[in-house]
Amino acid sequence: MVSGLGTSAAIVGIAEMPLSKGVVLGDWTVFGVQAFCASLALKDAGISIAEVDGMFCAGAWNGRSATQTTLAMAEYLGVRPRYTDSTNIGGASFEAHLHHASAAIEAGLCNVALITYGSLQRSQRFRTARAISEAVRPAFGEQFTAPFGLPNPIGAYALAANRHMAQFGTTGEQLAEVAVAAHLWGALNPDATDARPITVDDVVGSDLICAPLHRMDCCLVTDGGGAIVIVGKERAKASDKRPVWILGAAESHSHYSITEMEDLTATSAYYTSGECLRRAGLKLSDIDVFEIYDSFTITVLLTLEALGLCPPGEAGPFVEHGVLRPGGTLSVNTNGGGLAYAHPGMFGLYLLIEAVRQLRGDAPESAQVSGARTALVHATGGQLASASTVALATD
């Protein structure tokens, strides 16, 4: 059905770091986690590390947004890439990597692209240390936010949620429904970190962190890691695995600090989702599975509107009757997402891996979307700042 619409590159290998209660068991470095995932993803693809000539990597290592990430990872893995990309636009980095990798492969700039990510933020408790170190002498844009005690990133998302409520009448209960649905999907997945069934009352009754967002409006804080292998058309067709074609992609960002976001309820997803679908030659109604970045419940509501699944401002009423739940009319965040499955700091790679599982038919049986052939992955990074959409499909 969809082959021929831009099948120049495909995902043929995926892997994810096993977690126990959100933590990587054993003694690992963040590099070791990524090497382990890379080895599994390459094995999944039936490709040797010696063939990897495109390196893509982003992360926050030792609690700091890391730079020169591909240099460090390629050195660790013994790779000398012909194409290298350390793009870091927050949690949406990996969708951008996939976009760049498919373009590079199509242009003949590399043949086998490897994307890796690793995080030990939960077991090594980086987040608190980072917040403190950033606060000591806030420079550049931070000098206009840090002195006022706006927690990062939740403060930015809380401002957006507050604005959405004031502008459109969205309620805390409607936000909570996003978390309830995520936990119901998580309950179908034996690998989900927090598969407890929860209710709307549980969410709105949980501690306020930054009003209007409660603790259970927030994603989990876990370790994690993963890897993805991408190859060109001919190689993909010869692969043992069912190729997951990258039919289209688009990315953008609108600001760095939330203070410079033009409209707190309109992310760059309005542009990226439309552009991605146009490039893929798909309509929204063609999509079987949606994987949507859910750093916070508000992130999902804003994205549903931007994707065009409901009109602007109407995501609250749109979700409140269970459309996102298993068995609802949409299949969204089918592993439980960042709210229930895992969230290692940058969730974008997990969205892609889950989309591939669904399209391969490899999701846990009760969470497998029957006959899924197309997936739209949308990631949001930074302070609602970056947006990156990818359309994937199998033959």
Binding site: A131, R137, F144, F148, G149, L150, G155, L159, C210, A211
Partner: protein, 137 residues
């Protein structure tokens, strides 16, 4: 020594782009970057307009504005704010058209709301630094 408990309030580190802003604030005046070409204000301060890239100038703001969005912080991001919670942080749209983040000074007689009118309040935190807060009118 516990580094966490010793962490002071984060205070601005003025730079070439922003020292004029902080100097004026110290004099209890709010000056915002302004583009003559576009006829609009923007924020944060920088010497080039983020719409047309012309050199920007400064314009004094009345300090009057409305709350564009706010959050009530219940969990302190760093230890210094622990005994301040809950406190209100708001994005305020000043009359000149740009948005500035600041705390809303606690006032038991008024609840913050989107669209609520506020005025600038200059808070001297030490003998060198003044921060911009806002007070509900």
């Amino acid at each position: 020594m516990d580094a966490a408990t010793e962490t002071p309030r984060p205070l601005p580190d003025p730079d070439a782009d922003t020292s004029e802003y902080w100097r004026r604030l110290r004099e209890h005046e709010l000056w915002i970057p302004w583009c003559d070409d576009c006829g609009r204000a923007f924020f944060r301060p920088r010497p080039f307009c983020p719409r047309c890239l012309d050199r920007s100038t400064w314009k004094r703001s009345t300090g009057h504005g409305v709350v564009y969005a706010f959050t009530v912080v219940h969990r302190a991001p760093i230890p210094w704010f622990k005994d301040k919670i809950p406190y209100v942080v708001a994005l305020v749209e000043v009359d000149e058209g740009c948005r500035i983040l600041g705390q809303i000074t606690s006032d038991e007689s008024k609840a913050p709301a989107v669209g609520a009118e506020v005025s600038a309040e200059f808070v001297d935190v030490n003998d060198q630094v003044t921060l911009l807060h806002f007070r509900l009118i």
